[in-house]
């Protein structure tokens, strides 16, 4: 629906909010439904980042509008549930945005290192 003449360029979307970046990373590995994204993020961060449902779904909705992800046709019926779940897939545009963000963060990392900062300090 959201095909405006003023579609965003990848750079205009940066820097990405942390939750958005996490979701893109989770989808970079493969198509997932919303709940799976949530679990994936929690797992990857060792439980430190737990996306709340509101943040998760409003972000997914926004990513859909902006064309970073698409919804897959056909929905899987979850076990033990009458909920139909939507699966999401990263678009090439979404991948481009995620990679740009990654390189932005990489640059930042290098800058910090060159300045003598250590990233082992957790």
């Amino acid at each position: 629906m959201a095909t405006h003449s003023d579609d965003p360029t990848p750079a205009s979307l940066l820097p990405l909010p942390t939750a958005t970046f996490h979701i893109l990373i989770a989808l970079a590995e493969g198509d997932r439904h919303g709940y799976a994204v949530m679990q994936e993020v929690a797992e990857r961060t060792g439980g430190r980042t737990k996306l709340n449902p509101g943040t998760l779904y409003t972000t997914l909705h926004r990513l859909l509008e902006q064309g970073l992800i698409v919804e897959l046709d056909g929905r899987e019926v979850a076990a033990n549930s009458d909920e139909r779940r939507r699966h999401y897939r990263l678009t090439p545009f979404g991948r481009q945005v995620a990679e740009l963000e990654l390189s932005r963060l990489g640059d930042l990392l290098n800058l910090g290192r060159r300045a003598g900062l250590s990233c082992e300090g957790r």
Binding site: H33, G34, P53, G54, L56, T58, H61, N80
Partner: protein, 880 residues
């Protein structure tokens, strides 16, 4: 998921949080969100730490609140952005501009008029508990005097006996010459009871109010300065307190500074203590205005009943002066805002309401025309999955945006209009200084804008929401939808024309009435007349009287010697000026021991009186009908001149009044020496005023008016007049120097302004309605182009085609005008009280206005209809 750990109550609680989100979002993701929550809830339960569950709730709720808000904001921004883009589209620009301009006119007009209505009729007065403040007056129904000033003894009797008031205070206008510290200046003054400010609940700016001792005869000479005089003459310095200033030649100590706006006046320069003499004053000499505060528990009705008892007792006790005299008690605003002004304001408000309705109809019509063109766009949106609710939401936001821009522009217009209005509005308008775009006015403007958006937007939106996708896409959205909308569009145009016609008829009636007012015979010649006022101290004895007479004679002699002056005269009040003085008069001598008061003498007539010099009436151009004017040899206080109408009433059946004796309410009797032509003293809309003229040799009023007839431009004489006075009395100041024509124009400033404003509104409504007709016909031509082209190709003459298109437009115009005439006839009586000598249902006015409007409607239909003849069959059919 583990069924055991699923907690239905937690899910239900979470589901209720989802109501925070926009409906479509909830429908789309609600189920999954609840499932996601349940999973986390189950995990927290399994962990078995109560704190974890509580923490989960907290974070989930905060998250829902924040993201729901963000989602709403996002949607609104999206919709607004889309609405802005839609309205700014090249094809929509004309529509957007026309709608915004129309709405700005309607809303700007409505806001301007409402700010007047609010300031004058609705806004609370600057008193403590203003609803408890009342105005009291004397009334004599048997003499047709509905409201009159109150005498000092009556005031004291009322104050002593009435328990319905926690306080009663009296006011009297006084003129005051300030001198001593700078150029002599005449200021508007009010003598008031000591506790007036206390009664009103109005604190002084500085200093104190009068004490009861100061408000007694022979009390210490003190004064309170009004804010305007204090700032203007004394530089706003509080050091003036305690100092002595010279008023009418007497020193008085300044004890306080009063606020400029005291609710009922804004121009009072000086307050003096009233100091009513407890006895000795004439009970028949009525000149006080009375204000009261209702006591706790008292109402207007109980106060009226109590005063009726008191005035009845006074009638028995003092039949000479009080027979027939009763009292009225009214909310103070009724005293400040006359019935006529009230009616005028509501008529203006109704007129602007009609204009706003016409504007709404116009925009609604534009919307309908555009909605037809948009059917395809909406059909596509629906096909792409937008729900009817979503489509309606889009349209409503577009309408709100239009109305919002129109409203904002309207406010700007209103602000500009109000800035200009304070210069145009008659200075006599009460509460003029409080007119502003304040909170309540802005609130009403906001509500009007919303209501407008609703009115012009709801129809098109509802129709668009109903659009059937298949029809819209299959037929390109033309005929089917058009057919459904045609009656609606035509109805709107008819309604517009009807409203504009009714408003025009009202405007024409008002204009006719104003024309009558201006051409009413006055009984005197107001051209080439300059008037100027002068205040001298109150006369206490024969010496001051003689000195003042000598001063006036010397002044008039000097003025007569000025080049261009043909004659002069002196009067206590010019015609159509600010005040009127009246008294009972009878040709029948009262029984011994009684006077010609009230109902005691059924022959008594309440007549205006003026004190004049012999030269005054000739200077005004009033003809002498019988007898002679006053003469030098007249014994002071014996001779009287009557106006023709009064003479005929006193001495009916052609009896000669010259040499006859007449008896007045003040107990004196006079001999009639002359009969003067009738003139209008009190108002252009009033009848010729029965008037008696006394000679200046008998008495002088503290403020007298000099009338000067000139050969050339009267206004050019002003400097000469001032020089003449300064040569005789350098301490005195002339004031209200103005031509009599200006005075007369000023006396009708309210009807004039109202006529212009209603005419302006009617003109705008008419213009909008004409645009509505022309737009509809033009649209019909466009829509029927293929059909007309076929007809043209089949040999129909251009004339016949035009006739066909025109016929519909004419039918609509005529129905609108007819409905408007009917509407005007229904509402016409509402104007009755404001019309002078004009029947609110005058058939000729209705017919002429209808004819003009019908012709305009026909013209508006004909201009676009001509286009039909220029349709090229080939091009038109190709286009299809």
């Amino acid at each position: 998921m583990d069924l055991e750990t699923r907690a239905p109550w937690a899910e239900r609680a979470y589901a209720s949080l989802l109501w925070l989100y926009p409906g479509s979002f909830r429908e789309e993701y609600g189920g999954e969100m609840t499932a996601a929550f349940s999973a986390r809830w189950a995990a927290a339960q399994r962990a078995g730490r109560p704190l974890a569950s509580a923490w989960l709730w907290l974070s989930v709720a905060a998250d829902a609140l924040a993201t729901a808000l963000a989602e709403h904001r996002h949607r609104l921004a999206q919709d607004l952005g889309q609405a802005t883009r839609t309205l700014a589209l090249r094809g929509n620009r004309a529509f957007t501009l026309a709608s915004v301009a129309t709405l700005a006119l309607g809303l700007g007009g409505a806001t301007t008029i409402f700010s007047l209505v609010h300031a004058i009729l609705l806004a609370p007065l600057p008193f403590k508990e203003p609803a408890r403040v009342v105005h009291l007056a004397a009334a004599n129904p048997s003499h047709d005097v509905p409201r009159f000033s109150v005498s000092v003894p009556d005031f004291l009797s009322w104050r002593e006996n009435a328990k319905s008031f926690s306080a009663l205070a009296a006011l009297e206008d006084v003129s005051a010459n300030l001198s001593g510290d700078g150029a002599p200046e005449r200021v508007t003054g009010v003598a008031a009871s000591a506790h007036l400010f206390d009664l009103l609940g109005m604190p002084l700016l500085a200093g104190r109010a009068f004490t009861p001792e100061e408000d007694a005869p022979g009390g210490p000479p003190v004064a309170i300065l009004g804010e305007g005089l204090w700032r203007g003459r004394y530089g706003g310095q509080t050091s003036i307190l305690g100092r002595s200033i010279r008023i009418n030649g007497e020193p008085r100590t300044v004890v306080g500074i009063a606020p400029g706006d005291v609710g009922f006046a804004t121009d009072i320069g000086l307050w003096l203590p009233l100091a009513p003499p407890p006895s000795g004053a004439n009970r028949g000499d009525r000149r006080l205005a009375l204000l009261g505060r209702l006591a706790p528990g008292a109402t207007l009705d109980t106060a009226r009943a109590e005063l009726e008892g008191i005035t009845t007792r006074l009638e028995h006790e003092f039949p000479d002066t009080n027979l027939g005299w009763q009292a009225t008690v009214e909310p103070v605003r009724n005293w400040m805002v006359g019935e006529e002004l009230r009616a005028r304001l509501w008529v203006l408000f109704a007129a602007v309401g009609v204009l706003l309705l016409v504007a709404c109809a116009n925009v609604a019509n534009l919307q309908l025309a555009r909605a037809t063109a948009r059917v395809r766009e909406i059909g596509i949106r629906r096909a792409l999955g937008a729900s009817p609710a979503r489509v309606i939401r889009h349209l409503m936001i577009e309408n709100l945006l239009l109305a919002g821009i129109g409203g904002a522009l309207g406010l700007t217009l209103a602000a500009a209009a109000l800035r200009g209005a304070t210069a145009i509005l008659p200075a006599t308008l009460p509460r003029l200084s409080s007119i502003a775009l304040n909170g309540p006015v802005l609130l009403v403007a906001f509500l009007l804008t919303g209501a407008t958006a609703f009115l012009f937007g709801i129809l098109p939106s509802a129709l668009a929401g109903r659009t059937d996708v298949r029809t819209a896409l299959a037929q390109g959205g033309r005929s089917a939808v058009d057919a459904r909308r045609a009656p609606l569009r035509e109805g709107l145009v008819v309604a517009q024309l009807a409203l504009a016609t009714a408003l025009s008829i009202g405007a024409v009636l008002l204009a006719q009435s104003f024309g009558r007012l201006q051409n009413v015979p006055l009984g005197f010649r107001p051209d080439h007349l300059l008037t100027a006022r002068l205040t001298l101290p109150e006369i206490e004895d024969d010496q001051t009287m003689e000195a003042q007479l000598a001063l006036y004679s010397a002044l008039m002699e000097k003025v007569r010697a000025l080049p261009g002056v043909t004659s002069t005269g002196l009067t206590s009040e010019i015609p159509l000026g600010e005040g009127d003085t009246s008294m009972g008069i009878s040709a029948v001598a009262p029984p011994p021991g009684a006077s010609v008061s009230g109902g005691a003498n059924r022959e008594g007539i309440q007549a205006s009186w003026r004190i004049v010099t012999a030269g005054y009436l000739p200077t005004l151009g009033v003809p002498l009908r019988r007898g002679r004017w006053f003469a030098e040899h007249d014994e002071p206080g014996r001779s009287l001149v009557l106006s023709e109408g009064l003479a005929q009433r006193l001495f009916p059946r052609g009896a000669d009044p010259i040499g006859r004796r007449v008896y007045l309410t003040n107990g004196k009797d006079f001999t009639v020496v002359g009969v003067a032509g009738d003139i209008r003293q009190t108002g252009l809309g009033e009848d010729m005023t029965p008037t008696m003229y006394f000679s200046t040799s008998w008495y002088l009023w503290p403020t007298m008016t000099l009338a000067v007839r000139t050969a050339g431009d009267p206004a050019a004489l002003t400097p000469g007049l001032r020089r003449a006075l300064s040569q005789i009395a350098p301490d005195l100041a002339l004031f209200d120097v103005q031509t009599l024509s200006t005075v007369i124009a000023g006396s009708v400033s309210q009807p004039r302004l109202q006529t212009w404003v209603v005419a302006l509104f009617a003109g705008l409504a008419l213009l909008l309605a004409a645009i509505g007709v022309a737009g509809l016909v033009a649209y019909n031509v466009t829509r029927r182009t293929p059909e007309l082209a076929v007809r043209a190709a089949l040999g129909a003459s251009p004339g016949r085609i035009v006739k066909q298109v025109l016929a519909r437009g004419l039918t609509l115009s005529l129905s609108g005008v007819a409905a408007g005439v009917f509407l005007a006839a229904l509402l016409g009586s509402g104007l009755k009280s404001l019309l002078y000598d004009i029947d609110p249902h005058a058939p000729a006015t209705y017919a002429a206005t209808a004819l003009i409007l019908g012709s305009l409607g026909a013209l508006a239909a004909w201009l676009p209809a001509r286009r039909a003849t220029r349709i090229s069959p080939v091009l038109a059919l190709k286009g299809e």
